[in-house]
Amino acid sequence: MQIVIALIEGFIIRVGKIGALFLPLLMLTILVNVTSRYAFGIGSIELEELQWHLNAVAVMSCLAWTYQQDAHVRVDAFHVKMSATQKAIVELCGVVFLLLPFLWFVTDSAWTIFGYSWRLKEGSPMPSGLPARYIIKFVMAAGLSLLALQAVAIALKSILFLFGPKTYKD
């Protein structure tokens, strides 16, 4: 089980680290767009659309990793005072009763949205915009699925902590 958790988390780290590198690409795209428009009077629909494409990739690929790093914001008034066991219970219950139900419905419709876009080979509504809008819809569905996977990993870790062999706690 611990191997499974390690595999999942290792994969999520890699996705997150690669996704974060889309941010400097976004910065460069903006610079190129601004310069070419101001200096050469060339506006580009593709470059403008590319900006939010890159942003979306960065956000969705870091989403699960952020949970792994425990960087999602909590109201920790009581949380900080809890014992490790109590924290594990909160995490387990939260994942099972809140996060997974939320992701169950949302991820399902995200994949539906991607599937429909893929079947239609959807592109930008602007004739000379970027083609293949389904790629971004795939990124959305995949990012949400990764978050679900990370949630499962965290639930498993909590279960191991609560009910597993004593050695795990150390």
Partner: protein
């Protein structure tokens, strides 16, 4: 009946949130559970507006819309800029030098933070970047100087929020878009109230330092240094940040870049500064990217969660509840305006500004303009109200950023620290209400 479910929805969210599970997931999860409840009750034909699980199907559409929003790009770019400035050490140097000059002023370090905050506010359009940046550089410095955390956290949180009021501001851009008011009018109108707020914070810091010297101890004068020398130092360290402000603001003013693109220009400028300060390594660069990635992700996660929550709120007739309340109570024009601002303020406790603008603004603006109020003035009043919502517990973005950047303080400490600043914001709000000229000139 409707009011019962709306109340239960908010109450459950509040209670569950205090378990300490991530807020974004609590927002989404509680909403889904209430949607399931609605579906269940509908099977028993309870006669009331109900959300249903089918409505959760909208959430992925809304998430995609958030992801494809051009106007939200500055979130990541301004955070990137903040992280990069932090790496470059430029902001830190600026803070220490400004404090050396301002050491004669009581609470000089807090005053320096406000002044730097105003400079940052004029270059960024979102609160996140300024709060994170200010917190990372100013909190250690203020703690080192013996400042009480309560003053430090409050100043950093409140000052960091100025960015949304002092132009350029993403919030005003979104508001102008939603309410169809020229953004230029909003930018102009927000200027004076924004600067007045900064002034109030300075006054407060000075007052605290005079009244409770132990909370903001005066720093002893550094031996063997002339004031002239210190001032020159300060000017030297102002060059880079000022160039950055000029790059960001200038590219907007001279029509080189849109306010959205200006964030990318700022990020690039900060990277250049970091490169020139020779403190940027490849691994440092990766770190900036990665911490920007996770910060941006947690912010978007909150938007996703809030989006789900507001759909379910709508399903239970939350919108109509507000609208009916406005029509049911017969009030004079000013009374209605105050009531609406009060509702906006209350909603700010729970919802993010973007959700409030989407929910409330299109509902109430027609009512208010019909009563003869100037739309731009109303929008500015709402903007001040909303910027307060960044600081009001339990859901306040600035509070979360602060918590994220200073992990060793409890969020309840942050809640307490910002209270006097919320009071000052309400004061400026009332002032703008009494003297419309402040926003309309």
């Amino acid at each position: 009946m409707d009011i019962l479910f709306v109340f239960l929805l908010f109450a459950s969210f509040m209670v569950v949130m205090f378990s300490g599970f991530p807020i974004a997931f609590v927002l989404g999860g509680v909403a889904v559970l209430f949607a399931a409840l609605g579906t269940l009750l509908d099977a028993f034909s309870v006669d009331a507006d109900m959300a249903s699980l089918r409505m959760i199907g909208f959430v992925a559409n809304r998430i995609f819309d958030t992801l494809s929003s051009y106007s939200l790009i500055p979130i990541s770019m301004f955070v990137f800029m903040g992280m990069m400035l932090d790496k470059s050490g430029v902001a830190e140097r600026l803070l220490t030098r400004m404090h050396q000059v301002l050491r004669v002023v009581p609470g000089g370090m807090a005053v320096s933070v406000v002044l730097i905050g105003v400079v940052l506010a004029a270059s960024t359009g979102i609160i996140g970047a300024s709060v994170v940046l200010l917190a990372t550089i100013a909190m250690p410095a203020m703690r080192g100087a013996g400042y009480d955390d309560r003053l430090g956290l409050g100043v950093v949180g409140a000052t960091g929020c100025l960015g949304i009021l002092i132009p350029p501001s993403i919030m005003l851009i979104v508001m102008g878009d939603q309410l169809q008011i020229p953004v230029g009018d909003l930018f102009r109108g927000a200027m004076v109230p924004g600067l007045l707020l900064a002034l109030a914070y300075v006054a407060y810091a000075v007052f605290v330092a005079l009244r409770y010297p132990d909370r903001a101890p005066a720093k002893p004068i550094e031996p063997g240094r002339e004031l002239r020398e210190v001032v020159l130092d300060l000017i030297g360290s102002l060059v880079a940040p000022l160039l950055l402000v000029i790059a960001v603001l200038g590219s907007i003013v001279f029509g080189i870049a849109t306010p959205t693109e200006a964030s990318g220009v700022g990020a690039a400028g900060a990277t250049l500064i970091a490169l020139m300060s020779k403190r940027l390594t490849w691994s440092g660069f990766r770190e900036v990217c990665e911490s920007t990635g996770t910060t941006t992700a947690f912010l978007f996660a909150l938007i996703f969660g809030a989006s789900c929550f507001s759909v379910v709120l709508r399903g239970y007739g939350g919108d109509e509840l507000i609208e009916n309340a406005l029509h049911a109570i017969p009030l004079p024009p000013t009374g209605t305006l105050i009531l609406i601002l009060f509702i906006v303020f209350l909603l700010g406790f729970f919802l993010d500004w973007m959700e409030i603008i989407l929910i409330v603004a299109p509902l109430v603006l027609p009512v208010l303009t019909a009563l003869g109020h100037d739309p731009a003035w109303v929008a500015i009043l709402m903007a001040i109200c909303l910027q307060t919502s960044f600081l009001t517990p339990p859901v306040g973005m600035a509070l979360f950023y602060l918590k994220n950047a200073v992990p060793d303080v409890e969020i309840t400490h942050i809640y307490r620290a910002v209270l006097p600043f919320v009071a000052m914001q309400i004061g400026i709000l009332v002032l703008t209400l009494l003297v419309p000229k402040l926003a309309l000139w």
